[in-house]
């Protein structure tokens, strides 16, 4: 893969290692809260929740998005990546920061959950670790944007390949949205945790955190969307219905995800009703790129199904090659995305939010999107990339 295989493999293996730690924690949390097990010391439970959330919010999807970004950069632009040493520095910062944060959590020094909730305070090394990891990702953002620009200068008048276009959108989206949590840690929490300040403004901290907390989900989703647009039509023997529609969808996702996070704060007393309503509108507008994507992907799959001999209004669905793992995984992912998206429309509603805010409904909503739609596609992407990365076919001939 244009000399990037080792870099991409390192990101995916590191991501799988964090997944192997955080998934058993999640399963264990369900077990101890179920009637099958006695309730345990809450300190231990919240320590596990902090580790689970920190890994899955800041580390696992970030490593996959970065690794996949490097793979897309090499394959779709068709030439070796430059700045590989910077990419390794970025990788080291993410891994090092994550290790620092998770070791602090494991030691029981930061039972604050991945959402921090200041004025609660944990050990400063927890927040510092996350900040280092976030700063590490900024190097990746720079590399992605720089490669797009360099390619564009060398290929005037040609459109950027869709996969790289979307990767750059994802990088810019993350650049924008990570500023919130970065500012919260750097300017509010760390000075407080180190004892340099004696008070903290929890209202401001919540606003900064919500700046990150919603658009981060679209950063997680973008690799899955790239897989839907670029890899799925190939895997199903079809072709993409409309490349232009794909670009419009990615751009709309970038624009609408900028002013969106306050819908996490609908019942917060420090935000006025006007801004809450505005963020309902922008969150609602995310329905537009989502519906465009559903249309384009369904149309692409319909082409594949009809080329394979499917007839009638629904016959093409049965004719799709569901025995191929990538196609089956994408099908499941889209069902979960549909359920997660529909439940999200209730969360983002200015009026209905009060009925579900901070209940298990919300936990269900984001696990549907995250576990159901996003992670399943990360593994499908790995499945697709692995033979190209290792040079070995998945199945014996």
């Amino acid at each position: 893969m244009q000399g990037s295989s080792r870099l991409v493999l390192a990101h995916f293996w590191a991501a799988f290692a964090t997944f192997a730690v955080a998934i058993p924690l999640g399963a264990w949390q369900m077990l101890v809260r179920s009637p099958l097990h006695q309730w345990i010391a809450p300190e231990l439970y919240y320590r596990a929740v902090t580790a689970h959330g920190t890994t899955f919010a800041y580390v696992f999807p970030t490593l996959i998005a970065m690794g996949f970004g490097y793979a897309v950069c090499a394959v779709s632009l068709g030439r070796p990546m430059r700045g590989l040493s910077l990419a390794w520095i970025s990788f080291a910062l993410v891994i090092g920061g994550a290790a620092m944060a998770l070791a602090t959590v494991a030691a029981g020094k930061a039972n604050v959950l991945y959402t921090f909730y200041p004025p609660l305070l944990g050990s400063p090394y927890y927040y510092l670790g996350i900040l280092v990891a976030v700063v590490g990702t900024w190097v990746w953002i720079g590399l992605m944007v720089w490669h797009v620009r360099r390619w564009k200068i060398d290929h005037p008048g040609l459109p950027i390949p869709l996969a790289m276009f979307a990767t750059a959108v994802g990088a810019l989206l993350w650049g924008w949205t990570s500023l919130g949590v970065g500012a919260e840690i750097a300017f509010l929490i760390l000075p407080n945790a180190f004892g340099w300040t004696s008070t903290i403004d929890p209202g401001l901290a919540r606003v900064l955190f919500s700046w990150t907390l919603h658009a981060i989900v679209y950063f997680w989703l973008i690799p899955a969307y790239i897989a839907f647009y670029v890899l799925l039509p190939q895997a199903a023997d079809g072709r993409l219905y409309s490349d232009k529609m794909g670009r419009i969808a990615f751009l709309l996702l970038l624009i609408f995800s900028m002013p969106i996070g306050l819908h996490h704060l609908f019942v917060d007393p420090q935000i006025g009703a006007g801004f809450k309503f505005l963020h309902t509108v922008f969150t609602g507008m995310v329905v537009v790129p989502t519906l465009l994507t559903i249309f384009t992907i369904c149309a692409s799959l319909e082409i594949a199904g009809r080329l394979r001999g499917g007839r009638g209004p629904f016959g093409w669905i049965a004719a799709l090659p569901w025995d191929r793992p990538f196609v089956l995984a994408s099908g499941f992912s889209m069902v979960m995305l549909g359920l997660g998206g529909a439940s999200g429309i209730i969360n983002m509603s200015y009026v209905l939010n009060s009925t579900v805010h901070n209940t298990q409904w919300v936990t269900g909503h984001f696990h549907l999107i995250y576990g159901g739609a996003v992670v399943i596609m990360y593994f499908a992407i790995a499945y697709e990339l692995w033979p190209r990365l290792t040079g070995r076919p998945l199945a014996a001939p």
């Binding site: 209202g203 704060l265 019942v267 917060d268 009703a273 809450k276 149309a299």
Partner: protein, 182 residues
């Protein structure tokens, strides 16, 4: 591989654009109608208070906490949410009466949720959260803290006891601030 003519693609995309506009338009119409017609707004009063002096002076000193009947017959319930309890731990309110909850915190962020109702607000130190509601019939509600507030969070519960209006006046009407705690 066969290629669809561009006008076929354009026509199908135009039809889908109408569907998208219809879905989004309907969604916003419902939200605007219900928020205006039912006057259903999320709690957003943006009112600040000095969290370090709550217990010393002002609205949230201990003797003001609980349910206070207003001259117009409505009630105001003042509550402190703190690690790891609500004060008062048992709130009593009359049924069929406008109720205003005013809640704040001296320490960290808490959550205020009365089960089986739409009363739901964050309690952020430095701000007063205000929720207006009305309980239809007498019954007991659980009231858990719904925002993680450190390791004792799981034990932070209170109760809301909705009683008949006449019974409320008879049992609690003479008190400047009522509660069923203790």
């Amino acid at each position: 591989m066969s290629t669809l003519p561009p006008d076929v693609i354009e026509e199908s995309e135009r039809r889908w654009a109408y569907v998208v506009a219809g879905v989004v338009g309907f969604m916003f119409a419902v939200i605007i109608f219900s928020s205006v017609h039912w006057a259903a707004q999320p709690p957003s009063n943006v009112e600040t208070i000095d969290a370090t002096r709550l217990h010393l002076a002002g609205e949230f000193v201990e003797e003001n906490l609980g349910t206070a009947v207003q001259p117009d017959g409505s009630v105001v319930v003042r509550v402190i949410a703190q690690q790891y309890s609500f004060v008062p731990a048992c709130i009593v309110v009359p049924a069929q009466t406008p109720v205003v909850f005013r809640v704040t915190s001296p320490d960290v962020v808490h959550g205020f949720l009365i089960l089986d109702t739409n009363v739901n607000t964050m309690v952020v130190p430095g701000f007063v959260a205000e929720v207006r509601t009305r309980f239809d019939k007498p019954r007991d509600h659980l009231m858990p803290c719904h925002e993680y507030c450190s390791v004792g969070h799981e034990g932070m519960w209170a109760h809301v006891k909705v009683v008949d209006r006449q019974e409320f006046t008879k049992s609690y009407g003479s008190q400047p601030r009522a509660s069923c705690a203790g």
